[in-house]
Amino acid sequence: MSSTIEKVWATLEHLTDPEIPVVTLRELGILREVRETDAGIEVVITPTYSGCPAMGQIEDDVRASLDQAGIAARVITQLAPVWTTDWMSDEAKEKLRVYGIAPPHRTCGSGGDVSVVHFVRRVQAEPVACPRCGSIHTTVTSQYGSTACKALYKCLDCQEPFDYFKPY
């Protein structure tokens, strides 16, 4: 890695998700790549959900940090390969859990590998563990929580409601 690219990574290392301030953009897999091209430095970010309102803020945060560090770079939004929660590091998942959000299970592979027809109503194989007491005696309250990426759950043992970061 060239020293310039290292410097860019270091500059952006502290940036966190506006909705979930305990995990960094890099840990979430939103900050995908820093590369040197003939046109200069390019920082590649990828959106999570298509309509995620945090993406505008994330792009602004990246630009502002680069400007502050005096780094001239273009910020590029790239859709493919499509973002998946599988890119989250184990460290990030642990941070989510400590923060009170149950981390996502692994998806069953990307895109076409999953049978679309039988996706519906086939109950989730893996139970979601309560991020507070660790019980797997939990139940889904709603498929959507405070944001599109999360579902609402409730722990039947400690009675706490909690968010589950859905596999995507």
């Binding site: 959900y49 298509s50 309509g51 493919a80 076409g112 679309v116 599109a148």
Partner: protein, 261 residues
């Protein structure tokens, strides 16, 4: 490399933006707080998908086209969405339908539409048009959750109380005929299929029927018989409801063209 024609991108985008607008009408009016949030999130996904598609269409059109111009400054006749997605959130004003908002109608519509879109996006993620394929791969993940959400509620309604069952069946009876439009390709779809970049929706019909049959059986609901009427929204021939919807959606942008905040 084969690219999907711009009008095909607009057909996909218009479906998403119009249904996104309809679902958003529940914002602040949801039957329960969780569903208020759920519908707002589904709506955000749909509007996000529409934005990606409008951005791609605008880039290919050139001549200063923008996503905003495509969403806010085209008239109803230019919209290529299915009639199904523009209908109000209530059924014909007879029987069990409530005049204001009927959640069964919203759930049934989202179910019928997302059951189609999981199949469409699944096919399009393999499109040789790599820009469209990238949007499809994202949208597929979202559409799966939309389908999951709608099917869950349809089963709760159908296999619920006498009242919820009757209202779900009434919504299904009202909306099902509009799905006939899915299976008759328009000139825009024909051109897109010929380009090699699109999917021929007719090839997805058996899989769609299977999803419908599976869920309706669990919901103890009856698939309505439909024949005869085929809506033509995707040809640009719409119900009056689209004009009112666009009036609300486009009013601000047209009153203050070029405004930013």
């Amino acid at each position: 490399m084969s690219k999907a024609p711009v009008e095909y991108l607009l057909h996909l985008a218009d479906n998403a933006v119009v249904l996104g607008q309809r679902d958003a009408e529940w914002c602040g009016h949801g039957p329960i707080l969780e569903e208020d949030l759920a519908l707002a999130n589904v709506s955000l996904d749909l509007i996000g998908q529409a934005r990606l598609l409008y951005q791609l269409a605008a880039a290919r059109m050139g001549n200063g086209a923008t996503e905003d111009a495509l969403a806010y400054f085209r008239d109803d006749k230019d919209f290529l969405n299915y009639t199904l997605v523009e209908l109000p959130n209530h059924g014909a004003l007879v029987g069990y339908a409530a005049a204001d908002r009927d959640y069964a109608t919203t759930i049934v519509r989202n179910f019928l539409y997302s059951a189609l879109m999981v199949l469409v996006w699944d096919a399009l993620q393999k499109s040789p048009d790599s820009d469209l394929a990238a949007i499809a791969a994202k949208s597929l993940k979202e559409a799966r959750y939309h389908l999951h959400h709608a099917a869950d509620w349809l089963v709760k309604f159908g296999d619920g109380t006498e009242e919820s069952h009757a209202r779900a069946q009434a919504a299904l009876d009202h909306l099902f005929r509009y799905t006939e439009e899915f299976w008759t390709p328009s000139a825009v779809e024909d051109a897109a299929i010929a380009s090699g970049a699109a999917v021929d929706v007719r090839t997805l019909r058996a899989a769609w029927d299977a999803i419908i049959a599976d869920t309706l059986a669990e919901a103890t609901l009856k698939r309505p018989e439909v024949r005869g009427y085929i809506p033509e929204g995707k040809h640009g021939r719409h119900s009056e409801h689209l004009s009112y919807l666009l009036g609300e959606m486009q009013g601000l942008a047209r009153a203050h063209p070029g405004a930013t905040w």
